[in-house]
């Protein structure tokens, strides 16, 4: 579904990541993890073209992604993104926010149909009764679910999640994880999740990519990561046992 080859990324002259290579299969829940500041979000932003890679290539469904991404790139019609801050537009209601990708990409598309599609996704994330509310009237967890509905509305092949649990209490974070898993199983959408929340990783990860010192420290299944002999990997998964 998604393959990255020797991606080098950073900001200005500052290189954050070097020679990052990985691949994600269809329907897989792929988790990028590592300590704060190791470049997880930078990797995500490089792949989706917000901060294009300095070197390397990425392939989506076998086709090379062209960087810098043209503004009207079809790639954006096939992906969904859930941002750390939810990034719902405050001037629009929840329903309008979820409809936005459809109405923007297909201005001539029937509005009632677009509304219906948005409401179906809002019902999926249990927000249908709140569809007329504005983002500022919603809690953090509701905003995240609303953003998930928006990410899902165009039935994307892959969804990128940037720290989805940030700022949420443990119960809401667990509920959100369960929702992610349910939708992943139901829709077969591939997930690219950036997080350092251990509990969330345990619940959602099928394959993990661990970053450290600008490089890939580990890439494999979650079970393999648990058995890894690499010190930093062991320390990450068993943080209480190490100083």
């Amino acid at each position: 579904m998604l393959r990255a080859e020797n991606i080098t990324a950073g900001y200005g002259k500052n290189i954050i990541l070097k020679d990052i290579t990985f691949s994600i299969d269809k329907g897989e829940r792929f988790v990028v993890l590592g300590e704060s500041g190791c470049g997880k979000s930078t990797l995500m932003k490089a792949i989706i073209g917000l901060n294009p890679p300095m070197e390397g290539k990425a392939f989506f469904k076998g086709e090379e992604i062209v960087y810098p991404m043209p503004e009207n790139s079809d790639f954006y019609k096939k992906i969904g993104i859930l941002y750390q801050s939810s990034a719902l537009l405050n001037s629009l209601t929840l329903e309008e926010n979820v409809m936005l990708p459809i109405t923007m990409h297909y201005p001539d598309f029937s509005v009632p149909l677009a509304k219906d599609m948005a409401n179906e996704k809002l019902a999926m994330v249990n927000l249908y009764p709140h569809r007329t509310k504005f983002p500022q009237e919603l809690s953090g967890g509701m905003k995240k679910r609303g953003a998930l509905a928006r990410a899902l509305v165009m039935d994307p092949d892959i969804i990128f999640f940037d720290e989805p649990q940030a700022g949420l209490d443990p119960v809401t974070a667990r509920d959100l994880d369960q929702l992610f898993i349910k939708l992943n199983e139901q829709l077969g959408t591939t997930y690219f999740i950036v997080t350092h929340e251990l509990l969330s990783i345990r619940r959602t990860a099928q394959k993990v990519l661990m970053l450290s010192d600008k490089k890939v420290l580990f890439c494999g299944t979650y079970e393999e990561a648990q058995k890894s002999d690499a010190y930093k990997v062991k320390r990450f998964f068993n943080v209480d046992k190490y100083d």
Partner: protein, 346 residues
Amino acid sequence: MTKIQIPAGITIENSEKILKELNAQIKGTESAELDLTDVTLNSITKALVRKLHETHGEKIKLEETLQKEIYYQDEEPEVDESEKKKEPALENLGEKLLGLWDVIYFFCVIMVDMIFYSFESLYNRKFILKDDTTKNAYYIGYKAISIVFLLAFLIGFTIALQAAIQLAKMGGQGYIAMMITVIMTTELGPLITAIIIAGRTGSSIAAEIGTMVVMEEVDALKTMGIKPLKFLLVPKFWAFTLVMPILTLIADIAGIGGGLIVASAYNIPFGAFLSQMIDSLAFSDIFWGTVKSISFAWIILAVGSFKGLSVRGGADAVGRATTESVVVSIFLVVAIDAVFSILLYT
């Protein structure tokens, strides 16, 4: 070795007094061991112990386990001197000029894109929300009418009054109508409106877009395949283009109204004021006043958007962008007004 008891309950308020007492006690000894058994090791206590150590040096002894807790690593990591490359002054200047060029280039890109997308939107409505232009026109125009009217009226009144006092000395108070009409339609109407709108709407545009950048909403628009400049600026562009001439006209009328009050105080009949006003109204003045007001509107919108999109960081950066957008907008408006004056009236 004398044992010095560090008292419990050291606070920021009593610390200086205790430090003096402890210094005095330690001075009278050859070597001293600090006893911290009854003490809570809060930050002021630790700082006080470190201060004692700094003052008396090796004279003070402290248990090894406590030392680890009290002292912290305060050495700067060694930096390889060869890596510390000194930038020559000329390169520094060059870098700053390049930075300035980037700013000007980015501003021009926004200005050109804004105008291009706005005219393109006349036949391609993609990325434009329905009713967004109307909502913006309501906020930018309708909501600003009262403040524009009031300020223009007061400025018109004040200028007419000052002018009338001087003109009356030469018996020329009859020219108030002509003077205030010309001054409001050619200069002050567009200028006052632009300054009010720069402070009121330009700043809110910078804050709105800046907050959207901080909250990743602009990134979200990009990754939904939406052109952020078109989505955000086109409705505002048409709203500005539509309402600025109307607001300017209102400012002209209000300013002339202020002059009318002064004229009536100088016993100039309403009919005479009106006929002099009509005589001095030139179509070219109104036309160029409208052209100016539209160009001011575009500048205010471009500066507000540019400052908003340049925000990096958090809430403080949004605040700075808001202030800078007002300052830069007003400066550019006044500068462009001066250029118009040179081109039109010299």
